[in-house]
């Protein structure tokens, strides 16, 4: 039974390939501007040197922020469920998970089988996320992977009043000008972020054992701060960043075991704009190439063309893909202005939008 889990995060894309319950390979790549390409590249990297091909995968589960844009995935599951499931592989005794990712932070409470009891995410704010640390590393001119140990060398952490990404940046620059050491600034920021995480954790209740997952778990300075604030020794897996993808792979195994009859594969194809925030997906498993969507779009972004198997399918025109957010007015707007949109005209409900 060969399966894969793929986790398209906002900053990094991770993939785990498993064969009969053992990890064959795992990789972490940068998330590029196009989620679809990123997912293809990531899985290709994960399969490199394993002698396996994408076609050998019996089931693929996608997770993370770009989960709906993985064309070869059979299913998508939220990253919250995947982190809880993934951590059981290493530490079934974990009840409290802090997932610190590139764009958000989640506190999860789960049971021994990796089922989520409760979870909470930070709100629409980049304070205390991977993106925030990247920015600070840039301001301080220290490579990102070095900021953890740098903070550990601090003698006197500088108290920060804010972890608002914008204000903290100006505050950090002001301290630099005053001659405060970079180490002390980093330690101060870590402390502020740890306090905020503690607040998230308290809202789901902190139970033993405790773990940190996601890219930031590799930052020793932050881990040290969290150990102190939470008052528990975090159990750290060898690569905390792949836990989401690992959870996805474990779910894929569950699905294989549970599937009596073959599950019809959902073949999604997604098109996203440069920001990655806007995308259209076309379920090519459902699409029969009837072409109703072509005249329905006021900007004419659709076309029907033969796919690799010679079957007619709808797709977004090559030149429209880059300017998607610009061209597409949004399906609600179309519906109210024109009385129809690509969703309503599609007889097989194959088209979906994020805006």
């Amino acid at each position: 039974m060969i399966v894969a889990g793929i986790d398209i995060g906002s900053r990094a894309a991770k993939a785990v390939v498993m064969n009969n319950g053992a990890i064959v390979s795992s990789v972490t790549c940068d998330t590029g501007p196009e989620s679809v390409k990123t997912s293809q590249m990531t899985i290709a990297r994960a399969l490199e040197g394993t002698g396996l091909a994408l076609d050998d995968m019996e089931y693929v589960v996608a997770t993370g922020y770009g989960r709906v844009l993985v064309p070869f995935a059979n299913e998508n599951i939220s990253e919250i469920s995947c982190h809880a499931r993934g951590i059981t592989w290493y530490f079934p005794e974990v009840r409290t998970i802090l997932d610190m990712g590139g764009q958000d932070c989640k506190a999860i409470n789960c049971d021994a089988e990796g089922r989520v009891n409760n979870f909470i995410m930070n709100d629409k704010c980049a304070g205390g996320t991977g993106r925030f640390l990247e920015m600070i590393a840039d301001v301080l001119n220290i490579p990102l992977e070095k900021i953890g140990e740098a903070a550990l060398r601090s003698k006197q952490a500088i108290p920060f009043n804010t972890i608002c990404a914008v204000f903290a940046k100006s505050e950090a620059i002001a301290y630099l000008r005053k001659g405060v050491s970079k180490e002390d600034i980093l330690a101060g920021l870590n402390e502020a972020i740890a306090t905020r995480c503690l607040n998230l954790l308290k809202r789901v209740s902190i139970e033993k054992e405790f773990t940190i997952t996601g890219g930031i778990a590799k930052n020793q300075g932050m881990v040290a701060q969290l150990r102190e604030k939470v008052g528990l020794e975090p159990l750290l897996s060898e690569d905390p960043q792949i836990i989401g993808a690992l959870g996805a792979a474990l779910f894929a195994e569950d699905r294989c075991r549970g599937k009596a009859a073959a599950v019809p594969a959902k073949v999604q194809y997604g098109y996203s704009d440069g920001t990655g925030n806007y995308f259209i997906t076309i379920d090519t498993g459902r699409c029969d190439g009837c072409g109703e969507c072509v005249p329905a779009c006021p900007s004419g972004i659709f076309e029907v063309a033969a796919d690799d198997n010679g079957q007619l399918k709808a797709r977004v025109k090559e030149d429209a893909r880059k300017k998607l957010a610009l061209l597409c007015p949004g399906y609600e707007v179309c519906l109210s202005k024109l009385g129809r949109n690509c969703h309503t005209v599609c007889p097989r409900e194959a088209i979906n939008h994020t805006w």
């Binding site: 919250i80 469920s81 995410m121 925030n277």
Partner: protein
């Protein structure tokens, strides 16, 4: 994975379309303009503690003041109302300042929370609606509270009579009570259908019906809703989800928000929103020998309470009853930022629901939000959590 909609033959629901058209034309709906063109008066009301029957009995068309059912730019709303007022009050003010409620002949509010109160103050100051009135609404259910509220409703009626230059007779009030009670009974029938395993109507569709109920004459609404119930009884459309959900929180009338939950397979079967269940829940009961005004004031104070009322248990018990009746698997609490009464009650409600094993997903939102990527991730994870527990 959206909710499963099965439809063996193409039975359409034409009346649902008619309700949708009303909402699309909002705020200047054909029904409102028609009433105006016949020389009738149209009044705006804000908050479910404003007794609509009094307006109706005076021949006035009551219209609920809301924002659009989507997030909007609040350039004036933010300039006039400090941002710790909720985005609902700022959205209403924005529309008022833009002149989108210029057809209103009056504005009636309840001083139920700071948001409503400040919105009313600014409305009175900047938007020249000919008639303004605000009712003081007590926070308790004691005898004294009822006396005070009765006085308030009486004063409101007198103020209105003075403005119109004529009395509102008791017979008219009795008639209005009947019309509104009829509407409540029909809405209850609609909600009863949602108790089924696979209801004929989705949560988002139900919200279209409720939105229209605020924006057209009640008599017409009742007729249409009866048509819709008839169509639903003959329809073969059914909706089935991964889980049965209830939405709680103050004000929310955006069908797109419900749609974004249902698109992920969470079927919304009931709610506790002031724009839905809390609006129509209780009928006015006129006891023998009691004045209609007294009966109205009693109903409005005792109605399915807003989180502003104390003790909170009355509200919690009603929510728990709904959870049982509608066989709810999970509760989604959507709280508009800075809605203090609801935010403060949530931990207590969460504990009460925990006792009966019902999980809560708490979402902090802005008024009119239709479900961003982050909200969708949370809803998806919540549904997965419910499914994992069922196994």
């Amino acid at each position: 994975m959206a909710i499963e909609v099965t439809q063996s033959n193409a039975v359409m629901l034409p009346t649902l379309e008619r309700f949708r058209q009303i909402n699309d034309a909002f705020p200047k709906t054909g029904e409102i303009l028609e009433h105006k063109s016949k020389g009738g008066k149209v009044f705006g009301w804000l908050c479910t503690y404003v007794p609509e029957e009094i307006l109706h009995a005076a021949g006035i068309l009551p219209v609920r003041v809301t924002g659009y059912s989507q997030e909007m730019e609040l350039e004036d709303g933010n300039a006039y109302l400090y941002i710790n007022n909720c985005s609902f009050s700022r959205s209403c003010l924005q529309m008022g300042l833009r002149g989108e409620y210029e057809f209103l002949d009056g504005m009636v509010a309840g001083s139920t929370c700071d948001g409503a109160r400040r919105l009313f103050d600014l409305w009175q100051y900047y938007i020249k609606t000919p008639f303004h009135h605000i009712l003081t609404v007590p926070r308790k259910y004691t005898g004294k509270a009822h006396d005070l509220y009765y006085q308030q409703v009486t004063q409101f009626k007198e103020h209105l009579e003075e403005f119109l230059g004529r009395k509102i007779p008791d017979e008219q009030l009795i008639n209005s009570i009947e019309v509104f009670n009829r509407s409540r009974a029909l809405l209850k029938q609609l909600y009863e259908l949602r108790k089924a395993d696979a209801p004929p109507i989705s949560g988002a569709e139900t919200m279209e019906v409720l939105n229209a109920s605020f924006r057209m004459p009640k008599e017409t609404f009742n007729r249409w809703l009866k048509d819709l119930l008839e169509e639903l009884s003959k329809s073969s459309i059914t909706h089935k989800g991964r889980a049965r959900l209830m939405v709680v929180g103050s004000v929310m009338n955006n069908p797109e928000f419900i749609n974004s939950i249902e698109a992920q397979g969470g079927l919304v079967v009931t709610d506790e929103l002031c724009t839905s269940t809390r609006y129509w829940s209780d009928p006015v009961v006129v006891e023998k020998g009691e004045s209609p005004v007294k009966a109205i004031s009693k109903r409005y104070l005792n109605n399915f309470p807003c989180a502003r009322m104390v003790p909170s248990d009355e509200r919690f018990n009603r929510i728990l009853n709904l959870v049982k009746e509608f066989r709810v698997d999970g509760v989604i609490s959507q709280i508009i930022r800075y809605c203090v009464p609801y935010a403060h009650d949530l931990p207590l409600l969460r504990d009460r629901l925990k006792e009966v094993g019902v999980p809560v997903l708490a979402l902090d939102v802005e008024y009119g939000t239709s479900g961003s990527g982050q909200i969708q991730t949370r809803v998806q994870a919540f549904l997965e959590m419910i499914e994992a527990r069922k196994r």
